[in-house]
């Protein structure tokens, strides 16, 4: 630790922080926007403060300000950032460089992207320590190996010799935590460290991070949009919105007795009332024993998968990344022709290949994607985007088409005013709504929703899910809902298929699938979903240890 610093007072004291950026909207005069409005916070040594809010709330920006860092053209224009008793904003570039990687370290959201692919892990882990001269290489490497052990990484002695691409995402995230801890900093900024991970991996990483924080007495700013996650690791929570402080209090107070309406909305976001529908007699779409593979049949990603979707109902497909759920959608739509098995729609077998399907078949199956912004042509207006399927499938033109576009915009709760807007002018949630309207324009019987809410903030995602359920009532459309988020599944599904390594391991009506006794994988999946309850993490980990001891 750095000597000669003030021993009294908080470790980090941010006062009236103001952060601005210049934006360059196409075709307009550049203007300055304020990202963070006079936010103040203090953090004691060894404590963890959770920063929570939706995207654009300024939480990462505030987190990085503790290192005097602004992403892109972001500038700190006001206030003080007092770390270890001095205002780091007054220390100049050289002063900032001395504290980065020594007093404050950073753990990024995607460790897979944050590690340099060209260097071995160990070289990167000890780099900051060596740079700041706090240890010799041998000492630093010894420290790193001890940290790998503490973070329960496999082969702690040799994992440092590997390159980033040779290590899984969850392991990389732990290596990154070790990298931050290696230079024995006073403060670590965790920026959504588990958001990019599967829930089953998230729980391990989360518990490793929590133990490491406890044992090393390092203070932390823990940035996330997931309240249930932050409730597991933080002493205090600060809720932010649009760059302003909403509420700041102890973890228990924030999640049990929120004082602000917005916090309350965040806490209760997951509950949607949905009456489960019983499966009908004849399915509208049947996937029969489908096997599909990539790489000319070498890598089997779907193994003998069979599911049914009934008219006007929702089948949710859940599983972690690599379980084959998106591949199932590709097989159904014909983008990846199945090697074996068939897809039966409305009593007739669909051609395996997309190119062999009739226009009518194409119309009946529509898709909505995770990334709404890349699923739309940025140079077309909302009116053109939604009008395109109307022209293509129904030959609608002119006023008739515009009238239908306006109706669809109404259905997705966006006004006529949006007809002439471009996708870049819409928020994330609005973009996804336009994609929904575009798929509805074809009047399909089935819409495949591939992780449609994963890239959205919880409150926005909530709105989209409610909209989808309403539209199902009006249009009688069925959904195949692909997601890794079990809360979403609970809200909207009628039946559920749990996938693991290309196979359906559990399938049936929602109430049955979510009622014990569970198979091992479903149990693991369900018990890994963070709950908004203090001490959940310890309980879940303990439950697992007992199980693995008993099994």
């Amino acid at each position: 630790m750095v000597d000669g610093k003030a021993k009294s007072g908080p470790l980090l004291d941010i006062r009236n922080l103001r952060i601005e950026a210049t934006v360059y909207p196409p075709g307009e005069v550049p203007r300055t926007i304020t990202l963070v409005h006079d936010v103040s916070l203090t953090l004691e040594k060894g404590k963890v403060l959770g920063l929570i809010g939706e995207s654009g709330a300024g939480k990462s920006t505030i987190g990085l300000s503790s290192m005097g860092y602004g992403r892109g053209g972001v500038r700190i224009t006001g206030g003080e950032v007092i770390l270890n008793g001095r205002d780091i904003l007054k220390g100049g570039k050289e002063g900032l460089r001395k504290l980065r990687g020594r007093e404050v370290c950073y753990v990024a959201q995607s460790a897979a992207a944050a590690f340099n692919p060209a260097h071995r892990l160990m070289d990167q882990v000890v780099e900051a320590t060596l740079l700041h001269g706090t240890a010799t290489r041998a000492e630093a490497e010894k420290r790193a190996v001890a940290l790998f052990k503490k973070l329960s990484l496999p082969n702690p002695e040799t994992i440092g010799e590997r390159f980033p691409h040779q290590v899984s995402g969850g392991q990389l995230q732990r290596v990154m935590t070790a990298m931050a801890l290696c230079s024995e900093p006073d403060l670590i900024v965790f920026d959504e460290p588990t958001t990019a991970l599967d829930v089953t991996t998230q729980i391990d990483v989360l518990s490793a991070i929590k133990d490491a924080i406890r044992d090393t007495h390092v203070a932390a700013l823990y940035i996330t949009h997931d309240l249930a996650v932050v409730a597991q690791v933080s002493d205090e929570i600060m809720v932010l919105r649009h760059g302003r402080l909403v509420e700041w209090g102890g973890t228990r107070q924030i999640i049990k007795e929120p004082r602000q309406e917005y916090t309350n909305a965040l806490v209760s976001v997951h509950e949607i009332e949905h009456q489960e529908q019983q499966p009908g007699t004849t399915p509208m779409l049947s996937v029969k024993n489908v096997t599909a593979a990539y790489g000319g049949g070498h890598i089997k990603v779907l193994k003998n998968v069979s599911v049914d979707i009934f008219p006007g109902q929702t089948l949710a497909v859940v599983g972690e990344s690599g379980s084959g759920k998106s591949t199932l959608a590709r097989a159904i739509t014909g983008l990846l022709p199945p090697e074996q098995g068939s897809v039966v729609f409305d009593g007739r077998t669909l051609a395996n290949r997309l190119a062999d399907r009739s226009k009518e078949d194409l119309r009946q199956l529509q898709m909505i994607y995770q990334m709404a912004d890349v699923a739309m042509n940025p140079r077309q207006t909302v009116g053109t985007i939604i009008g395109r399927p109307l022209e293509f499938y129904f030959g609608m033109k002119g006023r008739e088409r515009d009238k239908r576009v306006a109706e669809l915009l109404d259905e997705i709760e966006m006004g006529k005013g949006f007809i002439d807007r471009y996708p870049a002018e819409l928020s994330g949630g609005q973009k996804q709504r336009v994609c929904i309207a575009r798929s509805l324009a074809a009047k399909p019987k089935l819409i495949i929703c591939d992780e449609v809410t994963s890239a959205l903030d919880p409150l926005v995602a909530h709105g989209i899910l409610k909209l989808l359920l309403n539209l199902q009532q009006i249009e009688k459309v069925a959904y195949l809902f692909i997601t890794h988020d079990l809360a979403t599944v609970k809200s909207i599904a009628d039946s559920i298929a749990v996938m693991y390594r290309g196979e359906v391991v559990r399938y049936g009506p929602k109430s049955k699938v979510l009622t014990p006794p569970f198979d091992a994988y479903t149990d693991l999946l369900l018990s890994s979903v963070p709950e908004m309850e203090i001490g959940w993490l310890e309980k879940a980990i303990k439950g697992r240890r007992m199980e693995s001891a008993g099994n």
Partner: protein, 319 residues
């Protein structure tokens, strides 16, 4: 080395050989399409039909084209490039010395140009959008935009005529010492450097800037590394593949594209040799030089491909 690399490298080499064969067919076919033939060229306008027929018989020109092609190819593979019509000399022997001269010039131009271009690229990235960056880009672009003969004459005027530091004519001959040779090629090497500099410099800058957006560059900055250390240690190793590609293209240009510069400085290299014999319509020499140029080009591109493969840690260290 691991198996995926060996396989990829073998593939590239095999492709290169195939490509070279295709080029040899093209070169041969191209020279066949030209009006007149070797016999006509040797004997000139006044030749009688009988003497033409005799010579054709003697040179094997009456045989079908594909047999002559394989005959030629067989010769090339055994190091026999034929004899020049104009002088009757063995082509392989006269080329050997000139190829050596060309490679000597290209080597010294490359030794200066490549590190200079990459360093300037790194500096431009370090001070991006500032005046240093703009100055480097501007000067490099200007030097590339001037035709090479113009740069050549400018150098001659300034360094040979006005100051007489270097000779205006870069004649090299046997028995010259190494230092004398270096002095002789200083001006053509400088001209070549100025021609290829900007391309490599700008590509280096663009490739590194592209990598500078990555999350791992931010990680490095947040470790407290200085801006130049971030560029050198974290950005450059990941930008190496496109840089190698453009460097190899320019190396190939240094060997193959030196014709104009060699003519200006009267340097006895391959380019001069080619130009001389094109004017004399000496088809066997043109074929041989064309094939050698193609081989150089293809080889350097294979080297670039292989270097890019080897530079990729994912291929070097598979899971």
């Amino acid at each position: 080395m691991s198996s995926p690399i060996v396989k990829l490298v073998a593939q590239r080499i095999a492709l290169g050989i195939l490509l070279l064969l295709a080029v040899s067919v093209l070169i041969f076919a191209g020279t066949q399409i030209l009006p007149g033939d070797v016999a006509q060229a040797i004997l000139g306008q006044s030749a009688t039909p009988e003497s033409l027929a005799n010579l054709r018989e003697q040179l094997g020109l009456n045989q079908p084209a594909y047999i002559r092609y394989f005959h030629w190819l067989g010769g090339v593979l055994t190091g026999d490039l034929g004899t020049a019509m104009s002088s009757g000399q063995d082509i392989a022997t006269s080329i050997k010395e000139r190829l050596w001269n060309t490679l000597f010039l290209a080597f010294w131009a490359a030794i200066v140009a490549i590190p200079l271009a990459i360093t300037l690229g790194l500096i431009a990235v370090r001070y991006r959008d500032g005046w240093v960056d703009k100055l480097i880009s501007g000067v490099a672009l200007a030097s590339t935009s001037f035709p090479e003969f113009f740069i050549g004459y400018l150098l001659v005027f300034y360094f040979a005529v006005q100051h007489q530091w270097f000779p205006a004519i870069s004649t090299v001959y046997d028995g010259m010492s190494f230092g004398e040779r270096l002095q002789a090629i200083a001006l053509p090497a400088a001209a070549l450097t100025l021609v290829v500099l900007a391309h490599m410099m700008r590509m280096t800058r663009a490739a590194i800037l592209n990598v500078m957006q990555s999350a791992y560059v931010e990680t490095a900055e947040l470790k407290g590394l200085s801006a130049s250390a971030v560029i050198r240690k974290h950005a450059f190793p990941n930008a190496i593949a496109p840089i190698i590609n453009v460097v190899m293209l320019n190396l190939a240009y240094l060997v193959v594209g030196v014709v104009v510069v060699e003519v200006i400085f009267v340097y006895p290299g391959m380019g001069q040799y080619l130009v001389d014999h094109v004017t004399k319509r000496d088809v066997p020499v043109v074929q041989a030089v064309g094939l050698i140029f193609a081989a150089v080009y293809i080889t350097l591109n294979i080297v670039a491909d292989i270097a890019a493969i080897v530079a990729n840690p994912r291929l070097r260290h598979p899971k």
